[in-house]
Symmetry: D4
Subunit: 168 residues, 8 copies
């Protein structure tokens, strides 16, 4: 059976940015758990979650935060699992602060960083799927089908645009 994915965020105000991750995992039938855990406000709980995640059946942790976004780094510090970081645009600096706080990790403790915001949330879920699919052939098949369907949608949009702008 496939391992689960954890989606943790530093504040419940980050939730709307993460909906696409939840939906993507649902669509690909990957069980997930959503949590609010703060690297700064509830560091013990966050550390405890990360330390016990593997034994509780998680295979990947997706961590999202804004500003001085340390949550993904904190997960990575306390777990051997692959950690995916989603920088959130939650301050006047448009997520550049969260991006640099998430991606510029010191040697030894990687965070797999994706794009800022919803775009990144979707991709965090897909990256989790790609990771889990390495040991789950059924999931690999669902993922392959999902990408094929995405390609088909781009082709449909191309056709619609071509119809709207007939070659002159």
């Amino acid at each position: 059976m496939s391992r689960k994915v954890a989606i943790v965020m530093g504040s419940d105000s980050d939730l709307p940015h993460l909906e696409p991750a939840v939906e993507t995992l649902k669509r690909l039938e990957v069980p997930c758990e959503v949590r609010v855990l703060s690297a700064h406000r509830t560091p013990e709980e966050a550390g405890e979650f990360a330390r016990t995640a593997a034994e509780r059946g998680f295979g990947v942790i997706i961590a999202a935060a804004g500003g001085a976004a340390h949550l993904a780094g904190a997960m990575a510090a306390h777990s051997l699992l692959p950690i995916i970081g989603v920088p959130i645009s939650a301050t006047p600096l448009n997520g550049m602060d969260a991006l640099l706080s998430t991606v510029q990790m010191p040697p030894g403790i990687p965070v797999a960083t994706v794009a800022i915001g919803k775009m990144g949330a979707t991709n965090a879920a897909l990256l989790a799927v790609q990771i889990l699919a390495g040991a789950d052939e059924a999931l690999a098949a669902r993922f392959a089908a999902d990408r094929a369907s995405m390609k088909a949608k781009v082709a449909e949009k191309d056709a619609a645009v071509r119809a709207r702008y007939p070659a002159g």
Copy 2:
């Protein structure tokens, strides 16, 4: 048997930045292959490499490039494997161009981005190990030991610094 890791780079001038990735994989006994493939100058070869990587036994692709760093994205476009992107500081913009070109991928095609340069190269290799370790218990054990050894080294450095600056 563990799947292999590919390390691809856009130019052989990127090689010194990637040495830490090769060394890290060697230390953890993960077989790897190093290639020069350019998303822009040899796009067919790059695409072909990515499309056939899974069937040739690769489980993860690490792609490094500088400037308008498209190599990781090109790998991701042509493969279902997890792709790790290492932005290289190869222009006057200090790698900010490579970072944004690598991490800001559109929804559907994730690249797991790590830090700019050598720091990121080490972490790319460790992230690849974390991903492969999900289906390889022996590798997982080697990785756990590696992290423990890293912790021990920090403790040694702490002791050395404390000796140098006796608490006043």
Copy 3:
């Protein structure tokens, strides 16, 4: 007969940003074709389009994308035609990501980059006209008239502002 201009974009959500390019080409009577092709989601279609563009009568390709904007670079990798890149502001980073992903191309594969967004879309069309006009005298004449008309409009606005703020 004048060669055609292709306007390709990574997503149909980029379309509003590109309307000024379509209008400008229409005004200058340059035939164009509008397509949705993604460097990441439909890389084979994008590559095929670029590889066959010259033989299908295109003289210039305008490619627009946001975020890690690789579309123009992908066109340039697969074609010998001049490629014009329009960075789109489609993420919280205000188009800085798209600008750097488009302009910082490695030696060998140029992309002629214009300004971010609609402003750049207009200029992409005009640059395509300037390129095609090198082998099309009638187009060169229309372009010269177009610029003269633009100058006249600035003069009109100057007159209107002078009337509104009589020299004190």
Copy 4:
């Protein structure tokens, strides 16, 4: 006969950055003229050069400058030819000032901007070649051969790297 390419720069201290452009044009047998013209210090000469460039046989102008890099924009303001801008890193801001001053042109007056520095200088020359090749089949053939040769060099480097790191 092919039209000529002008390479103009704001200061002779920019010359080393532009050598790759001169060499590239020489290799592809495109006649060129190199000039020092300042948008700010010799604006009349710069304007005069641009206004008369077409009639003197130029088909493209490459303009390079650092800081508040206005030279390409000044060329574009005074000529109907395609203008290619090369931002130079000549201040503590690493060329970001020159890049934005060159690329963010207002609607109506495009500058085809390439990467910062030498990397961009090479590409400026190649872009000029692509533009001129539209009306010069012999040049188009030389350019096609040049790109093929570039591809071959990447393949050689790939082979060298593969030999150095035998797949493990």
Copy 5:
């Protein structure tokens, strides 16, 4: 009699940003003229304006533009008068492009740059006043009174805030 101040802008869409400059000059009884002149679209008119400004009674030129903001630099290139540059936020880059295009002038041709947008427009007018006041004692007296009045307004606001938040 005091010399006049010219307020020139690259586009009439910049006008709302410049209203505070017009009002400030009016309040301090400095005659001014407002013009739309584009460094890129009407370069001859812009150059002519700058070359003849001194003889037509102008003592300072305020030039405002957005994006690759070359207007102030163009004025400075064609005139010996002090030129004040106001960067306008007119693109997705929030005026950073206009600021760098205005302030990073090469040695020999200064532009006195003020803050981005309306804040800068007010200050451009005050700086023009300070410059003209060097040879106009009545203006110097009006300017001294104006600053005193500004100080008094800050003191009033301080009193209002203190009343609203009685020291606790």
Copy 6:
């Protein structure tokens, strides 16, 4: 008795950004005084305030400003008290100007800088509390309770999110 906290701002338009500081100090029963003092428009008053703050019973000064935010630095130049700087996003540059103007102080005159805007205002008040609590045990106890209550609120939100997304 606990010393007081001063909250000074450069303009009354900064007031909404500072409300969270006032509320936080109230909640923790720390007396405070709110003032409008400008480093640039009322420098004598600002200097006088800082020079006499310690003798009037203040233990910490919180200073907030936008743009070229010099108020905190001016307080620090004229007082030996710890000064906390809150950068305000008050220009098109999103507070990056205020952040750098506040934090990059020369050796000798520190400003304790917190995050941009409201987020920083809350933290400025808490930092002032932490500083004063060093010599005020009752305040230290209230602060400890306040943080515990904050942790409890994160736990409540975690529970709410878990209920909304039952582990799948």
Copy 7:
């Protein structure tokens, strides 16, 4: 007796940047302890250090780190003491990553951030002194003398420069 100051850093390679902090505390006779503790590599040790710092006699913690600089935030998460963060320039991004990772803390957990690098290290020590001086009159007196001496040095340099450039 004065409480102690802890100086913690994420890596012993940060040590040269922190020497000025050690020297400044020594000069002002404030006892300090220097430690290497990593938020990411030794998170338990780092957390333990912070949680027990107050009871072991520390009054302030200075934490320095580069890249995704989480150390100061981790200290702040685990302690009620005032935490001072020193961003280190340790990556190609010149310390901008460390600055944003340190200063943009979420509401509830402040970090008193100072300038990047050595300049900030000196100021971190002085800020610690200012904080401790609130409850230590002898230290307050030493600090007042230290600042007076710094002022005198600036005056000496002023005299030297005036002598070198006699008013013309």
Copy 8:
């Protein structure tokens, strides 16, 4: 007789950056005085200097500083004279901090900002000359000759470059 120019800097380490300003004023025979005055370390002396500058015969103040560069703003706060700010690159942020701290002044207190570093120092002196020349015809004549000589030098360099690269 022409009024004098003051060149003030925050630290004597800024002196090498300002040499071009001193030389330029000497060449144009404008008397100047060079001072080390710190907005942060000697604020009273700095304020006093600015408040009395006009009565002591100064017509313009050039102020240079790095980091959180407040010196020009402090001069502007205490004087009615035109103040020219030169941002110095003195921190890892390459002068971007000094530029924003100098240029983004609040409405009411302008600073005429020039480019970062030596380039800006030369231009600060020339801008001071332009300002003083408004009431000093002899200076205006020397300035006109100086610019003409600068133009001639660019023409010489153009000739040298043309000779080196004969049109091909």
